[in-house]
Amino acid sequence: MAYSPPPEFATPEFLARLQRQDRDAIQQVVHEFLPQILRAARGAGLDETEADDVTQQTFLTFIETLPRFEGRSQVRTWLFGILYHKLREARRGFQKQDRHDDIDDVLESRFDDRGMWQAPPRTADDDVWDQQIRRHLEECLETVPERHRLAFVLKEVEGLATQEICNALEVTGTNLGVILYRARNRLRECLEDRGFAER
């Protein structure tokens, strides 16, 4: 089931408390969202120490910028947006570099001129796929550019709506589609290359 933040967070009263940096309101937000921010930072490829540091920095910036928070986006989207900026500061891999990606060439080569498979996905027993995918997934995630990986994690793990991710990562819906397309295909290709997809 999709995650829903506490309804109180969307009220004008709560927003006003946040804007005047009310301690209890901040604590509620920190308590609610810190685990999600920490998990997303780890999911985006940071090690534990880096993830702890970026998470802490995200909330400190959140607190400092609260007087400017106008409530146009949800608190959670605002936080993930700050996280994204912190990741961009910390790692070059989160910079925007979406013009060309090798995975596009790999995918194009799988189809003929009519758009039909000429190199179809290799057959695998679905049970075997399910059991073994996990073993290789962690390594294959390392092959996904960090920014794409973050978008993929926000979508698949944190369950953010498309528009929330677009706002947090400052991309259009079309760009996000391309990013998710590349992340999913790169992961699938990587797993298939490792051979365990074959029967």
Binding site: L34, P35, F111, N185
Partner: protein, 86 residues
């Protein structure tokens, strides 16, 4: 599989699934999508694999973080909130 006029190609299906735009399709396009999957076992397999991928990533990365670590970070953030410069 032969491509029929008005039907999605395998390439179209692959794009729809991996861009995550299937859920945004209207009723007619959703029907075209489903019909393609009924007739193309390669695409049906591709769709299953991509969905399994999402499930596997959620299992791998979706566990709640260690509560002690979370508490330590919460305390560090709130300590800043209570700091002498505020």
């Amino acid at each position: 599989m032969m491509k029929m006029p008005g039907m999605y190609s395998c390439h179209d299906v692959q794009e729809l699934v991996t861009c995550g735009t299937v859920e945004e399709l209207g009723a007619w396009d959703r029907l075209r999508f489903r019909m393609h999957l009924m007739m193309c076992h390669h695409c049906a397999r591709f769709v299953r694999q991509v969905r399994s991928l999402g499930d596997a990533v959620r299992r791998l990365l979706g566990a709640p973080p260690d509560p002690e670590r979370v508490q330590r970070l919460e305390e560090a953030v709130m300590a800043h909130c209570d700091g002498p410069d505020r």
